[in-house]
Amino acid sequence: MISYVLRRLIQFVPTIFGVTLIVFFLLNVLPGNAAMMAGGKNRIPPAAQKLMIKKWGLDQPVYARYFKYIKGLCTADLGTSFISGERVTDVLAPRLWPTFKLAVIALAIACVTGIPLGFYSALRQGTAMDTVTMIGAVSGVSMPQFWLGLLLMYFFSVYLKILPTVGYGNGDPKFIILPAITLGVGYMALLARTTRAAVVETLSQDYIRTARSKGISDLLINRRHVLRNTLTIILTSAGLQFGSLLGGTVVVETLFSWPGLGTMMVNSIYYRDTPITQGCVMIIIVGFLVINLLVDLSYALIDPRIKYQ
């Protein structure tokens, strides 16, 4: 087990380099540069743009820039933001916690509602309840986040006046409710449907019939025998979703003025502030790797048939 973890950790290195390489060259392909965008609506004069390009080293060939970046990376230096001139690590650090918090709570909402819903509708297969859950799930994924977010904002903030519309509120939990729900609903739908599919598959297994023939209670059958078997798939999709939540919260963050990584990353792409983009991608890849490792390890805990050498 430990050697397996070590092997996986060593694999992190090529993956991280792979991602930096691909992203670096993809970004290089994009038209335009940061100097063009630095002035917002007030365009920066061409002469000043030239200065910026020189200062940021954008006039050097791409491989030279990449090697410089990698060299920095080896000393844990992610570079400096073109536009603000601050160190990338300083820019990223304050964004991590809000994103993480939002992702965890959204995923928790998704799990707490989605898994039981999926379970329930699998047990009530073919009933009206099942259909309603399915329709709910489909509307959950079909509804764009900005719709849901605005509707929630309208209902809870304007109409009921019980929750604030936007902002981070210094970490006041009241502020996280709406963004987390908005973010969680799509994942809830996905989890509900995935859970249902897995449970339906499990329910038709012979060993569930065996469990029934033993006279143990339905609750125990569902909670122990069925759930255990569906956990791998649920964990996989939850893990994947958590990974994507790290970087995929743009719409919600923008709508709710949430100080997360998502908006920063998207802005850095639009404004071609490539050191920031690279930094964000780095966080996301590390997040993914760690979560996937945890998920893979948990497979082994859940399923004795899976062994890692």
Partner: protein
């Protein structure tokens, strides 16, 4: 047939599956009983309704299937009248069941110890630790070597025969009055089959448990059953003492089944063949033929067999048969 001796008495059982394509009568007016200490064999091809009958007794029929009517009397008490919780106390405790597929019938993610312990915890109210010890004991009884080690194994670490032993251990753990074995040996290879059959035979003696042995393997029946019920398309077509059945099969279907076996009687070295040699297939349960269900395949069919439904003829000591022209009938 004194009531005291009867473990199970099934009376006019109908089990159906309702679908948009119509109603499938999987079990159609089935009546029989199981006596204490007896091994009752139920034979039939796939789809003849024997497994559904077994599941009906356990009340494990899942939607869209349902038991339409009939009585399932267990020691004189109708199981159909029990609540869900009361039924759970019967299941595993007083009636238990062994399934066909030892490979898939055990939960792959739990140790066998845990799966056996569940029985003790549920039905005997034992603590986890006590249950665990009982499980080891039970494994020993089903002749699993070094049970205190194997109890921590997961099913995938065991062979098919071992797993079926585990199933038997589990089924017998609460000393049930009735054991339903649904094709317990079909999935096993021949030598293992023999061991498992022997094991059941021994245990039946030790616990004096009534056994309902469901199989399509007449060899197994010949070996251990005392009485046999032959099912076809959801109906009982013949019931007889085992010797009678093999020596004087009455229903054409029974005869066809027996003819498919090279040699009668005890298991031989030649092994046994499945029953694939009867011409035709089991009719679809949605569109059963009028009259005798076996008519299309019956080598002795007569024109009037189609005209009206055939009822089961009680021959007293010679059993029952669903054919007016049965072998030995006074035509």
């Amino acid at each position: 047939m004194q009531p005291a001796k009867t473990v199970l008495n099934i009376d006019s059982l109908f089990t159906e599956f309702n679908t948009i394509d119509g109603t499938a009568r999987a079990v159609n007016d089935v009546t029989f009983d199981v006596k204490r200490g007896e091994i009752l064999g139920i034979v039939g091809e796939s789809g003849s309704g024997k497994s559904v009958t077994a599941l009906s007794i356990m009340r494990l029929i899942r939607p869209p299937g349902s038991i339409r009517r009939g009585r399932i009397e267990f020691f004189g008490r109708d199981l159909m009248g029990l609540s869900g919780d009361e039924m759970k106390d019967v299941r595993g405790n007083r009636i238990s069941m062994i399934f066909q597929e030892p490979m898939t019938s055990l939960h792959p993610l739990f140790t066998i110890g845990l799966q056996i312990s569940e029985m003790y915890i549920k039905h005997m109210g034992l603590s986890k630790k006590e249950a665990w010890e009982h499980a080891i004991e039970m494994l020993e009884k089903v002749q699993i070597p070094s049970p205190e080690k194997r109890v921590k194994d997961y099913p995938h670490q065991m062979s098919g025969g071992m797993r079926q032993r585990v199933m038997i251990a589990m089924a017998l753990s609460c000393n049930p009055e009735l054991l339903i074995a649904d094709e317990p040996t079909t999935a096993l290879d021949v030598t293992i089959q023999a061991q498992v059959i022997d094991l059941m035979w021994q245990l039946e003696k030790e616990y004096s448990t009534a056994i309902m042995m469901i199989t399509h393997d007449l060899g197994v029946i010949a070996e251990i059953a005392q009485r046999v019920i032959v099912m076809y398309a959801g109906e009982i077509v013949e019931e007889a003492e085992v010797n009678q059945l093999f020596e004087q099969p009455k229903h054409p279907y029974t005869r066809a089944l027996l003819e498919a076996i090279p040699k009668l009687g005890r298991r031989t070295r030649m092994g046994r063949k499945p029953l694939q040699e009867i011409k035709g297939i089991v009719p679809g349960l949605y569109n059963l033929p009028a009259g005798c269900n076996f008519y299309p395949r019956c080598p002795e069919a007569r024109p009037d067999c189609r005209l009206s439904d055939i009822s089961l003829i009680d021959l007293g000591i010679r059993g029952r048969v669903r054919c007016p022209y049965y072998q030995g009938a006074k035509a």
